[in-house]
């Protein structure tokens, strides 16, 4: 197990390094000079040169890469060109919106997807199964931003139950902050719930037709115990494996949903950064998100190995 963990950690480090380097290289080939962008078109060449020196842009690319990588190793993502504060601070601030949003959407996906998938598998071939499958297909095909728009129309504009957009900071009351994240979390989570329903249904069907379930039933084990002890436990393994993929989808989806609901999260931050050509900020957010996604897949692999004793660590 330790050898497995060690090798998996090495692969993780290499992949993160590759992903970060990809970002650096893409931003290196950008036409347009960041110094010029900061100062505007009217800036004098000498002023531009001064800013270039201050940002280290006059150095050859390999030196800049080495510096950037060195900073990255010390978790220093640089300073935003537009905001003038460390990128890390901006990300940390926006995570207060994006993190709870993703967590709420994930909770919705698991709470809806797992029971619904089990339910459909138990009643395979029935009308209920058909309805669940139809919900899953429709949920996957529905764009989150489209769903979000209509959630706003119904629950904010017509019923006036929840805010149509914007975010009340946690400091001004957790209840109101929660309320402003509720509709976005539903818009974000439904598609994930739908895809999880399919995974759980298919996994549960496989377990239900397994020999050990037949044996358990033949021994007279009650149906509830069969579901709890065999079906649910084995289906959860497949849930654990897809959850990291689902979180990656949620993080990407948050970029759009935050735009629909004008939430001050990581997604709107990165979009603004692109529009402002704030390269250190774009770079920082992209590297951050990619690392989180890679870290999740590492955790899943390790968790998977723990959950399923059949997996060998070789």
């Amino acid at each position: 197990m330790q050898a497995y963990l060690f090798r998996r950690a090495i692969t993780f480090a290499v992949t993160v390094w590759l992903a970060a380097s990809l970002t650096f290289v893409t931003l290196l080939v950008i036409p347009g000079n960041p110094a010029q962008i900061i100062l505007g078109i009217d800036a004098s060449p000498s002023a531009v040169a001064a800013v270039e020196r201050a940002l280290g842009l006059d150095l050859p690319p390999p030196v800049r890469y080495a510096r950037w990588l060195g900073d990255l190793l010390r978790f220093d993502l640089g300073t935003s060109l537009v905001y003038g504060v460390p990128v890390w601070n901006l990300i940390a601030e926006r995570l207060r919106v994006t993190l709870p949003l993703t967590a709420m959407a994930l909770a919705l996906a698991v709470c809806v997807g797992v029971p619904l998938g089990l339910f459909a598998a138990r009643r395979r071939g029935s009308l209920w199964d058909l309805a669940t499958t139809a919900f899953a297909q429709a949920g996957i095909a529905t764009p989150s931003f489209w769903l979000g728009i209509f959630l706003i129309l119904v629950f904010a504009v017509q019923l006036r139950w929840l805010p149509a957009g914007g975010f009340t900071p946690w400091s001004q009351g957790a209840g109101r902050a929660f309320q402003s994240l509720l509709l976005p979390a539903v818009a974000l989570g439904i598609a994930r719930a739908a895809s999880l329903t399919r995974v759980v249904r298919s996994a549960a069907l496989e377990v239900l037709s397994a020999d050990y379930v037949r044996t358990a039933r033949a021994k007279g084990v009650s149906e509830a115990a069969v579901i709890r002890r065999h079906v649910l436990r084995n289906a959860l393994i497949s849930v654990a494996t897809v959850v990291s993929l689902e979180v990656a989808q949620l993080l990407a989806g948050a970029i759009i949903v935050e735009t629909v609901f004008t939430l001050p999260g990581l997604g709107t931050l990165v979009l603004n950064a692109v529009n402002n050509r704030d390269f250190p900020l774009v770079q920082g957010i992209v590297v951050c998100m990619a690392s989180v996604i890679l870290l999740l897949s590492l955790v899943t692999d390790v968790l998977y190995a723990y959950l399923d004793p059949r997996i060998r660590y070789s």
Binding site: W146, A252, V286
Partner: protein, 286 residues
């Protein structure tokens, strides 16, 4: 004898096709999409970009089948023109993902060792970028537009295809018919093109269908964010974004393009599921 066997084969294929309602529905939706785009070159009910204040926010009716938007433009005509973008982006993005994926996955499987290790770690690194994030990064470099969108969605699809091809080829490389070909002195390239690739076509077709659906969703999202198709060209995602601010006046300008996206993606996903059931007898119907 031959005839009987053929009929028996056909009947078996027919039996497998029957009850394949998802394949049928998916195919119908895909054909409808292609037909819509094709017809849009010859016939449109109205000029998709003509602004008419008098016709603002018309609900669906006789003159405007799906209603009009905030500028009085015909929604049906705009959706018809938008379907072209959808198809082009989908086809090109999947084309990029498929060709690069087959190449890289093939190289990794056939050469193994450090080639395999390097390419697959690179694929892991690319896969760590959600397509949308990659598109945002590219849009910041190349400027927003359809091309950077297609490229980003295409690149983001490469790892899936590469991993799929690699995994399937690794299983095939041990097969007797491949070893026989190798023993007869066939080159790596010949083995790849004549023996390995034809045996992965079915799996790739299924994956391509699903990737097509995902590309359409990604393109719509990019256009919604203003990073895809630029105005005044209609695209489904853009139409949604523009309609959002006028939701209280009329829901139709937002409803219709969203419906077009959802139905198209649904159709392609159904088609993918159906193809998987038909092409791969190993998967039981679930």
């Amino acid at each position: 004898m031959t005839e009987a066997r053929t009929r028996g084969g056909l009947a078996a294929a027919g039996r497998r096709l029957r009850g394949q309602w998802n394949l049928t529905v998916g195919l119908v939706i895909l054909l409808a999409l292609v037909a819509t785009a094709a017809v849009s070159f010859f016939y449109l009910p109205h000029d998709p970009n003509r602004i008419s204040v008098l016709n603002r926010f018309k609900p669906p009716g006789e003159e405007f089948l799906l209603g009009t938007d905030q500028f009085g433009r015909d929604l049906l005509s705009r959706i018809m023109v938008g379907s072209r973008v959808t198809i082009v982006v989908g086809v090109i993005a999947v084309g990029i993902g498929l060709s690069a994926g087959v190449l890289l996955g093939g190289l990794a499987a056939q050469y193994g060792r450090w080639v395999d290790e390097t390419l697959m770690r690179l694929m892991d690194a690319v896969a760590a970028y959600p397509p949308l994030l990659l598109a945002i990064l590219l849009a910041s470099i190349m400027g927003p537009g359809v091309v950077s969108g297609m490229l980003a969605i295409g690149i983001a699809t490469v790892p899936v295809f590469a991993r799929l091809v690699r995994a399937n080829l690794l299983a095939l490389l041990d097969a007797e018919f491949v070893q026989a070909a190798r023993a007869l002195g066939a080159s790596n390239a010949r083995i790849f093109w004549r023996h390995l690739l034809p045996n992965t076509v079915a799996i790739l077709l299924v994956q391509a269908t699903v990737a097509f659906a995902n590309a359409i969703l990604a393109e719509a999202a990019l256009s919604y964010l203003g990073l895809g198709t630029q105005p005044p060209d209609p695209s489904w995602g853009r139409m949604l974004r523009e309609a959002q601010d006028f939701l209280v006046f009329s829901p139709y300008p937002a409803l219709m393009p969203g419906l077009a996206i959802a139905v198209t993606v649904l159709g392609l996903n159904l088609l993918g599921d159906g193809l998987r059931d038909v092409l791969d007898p190993k998967t039981r119907r679930r």
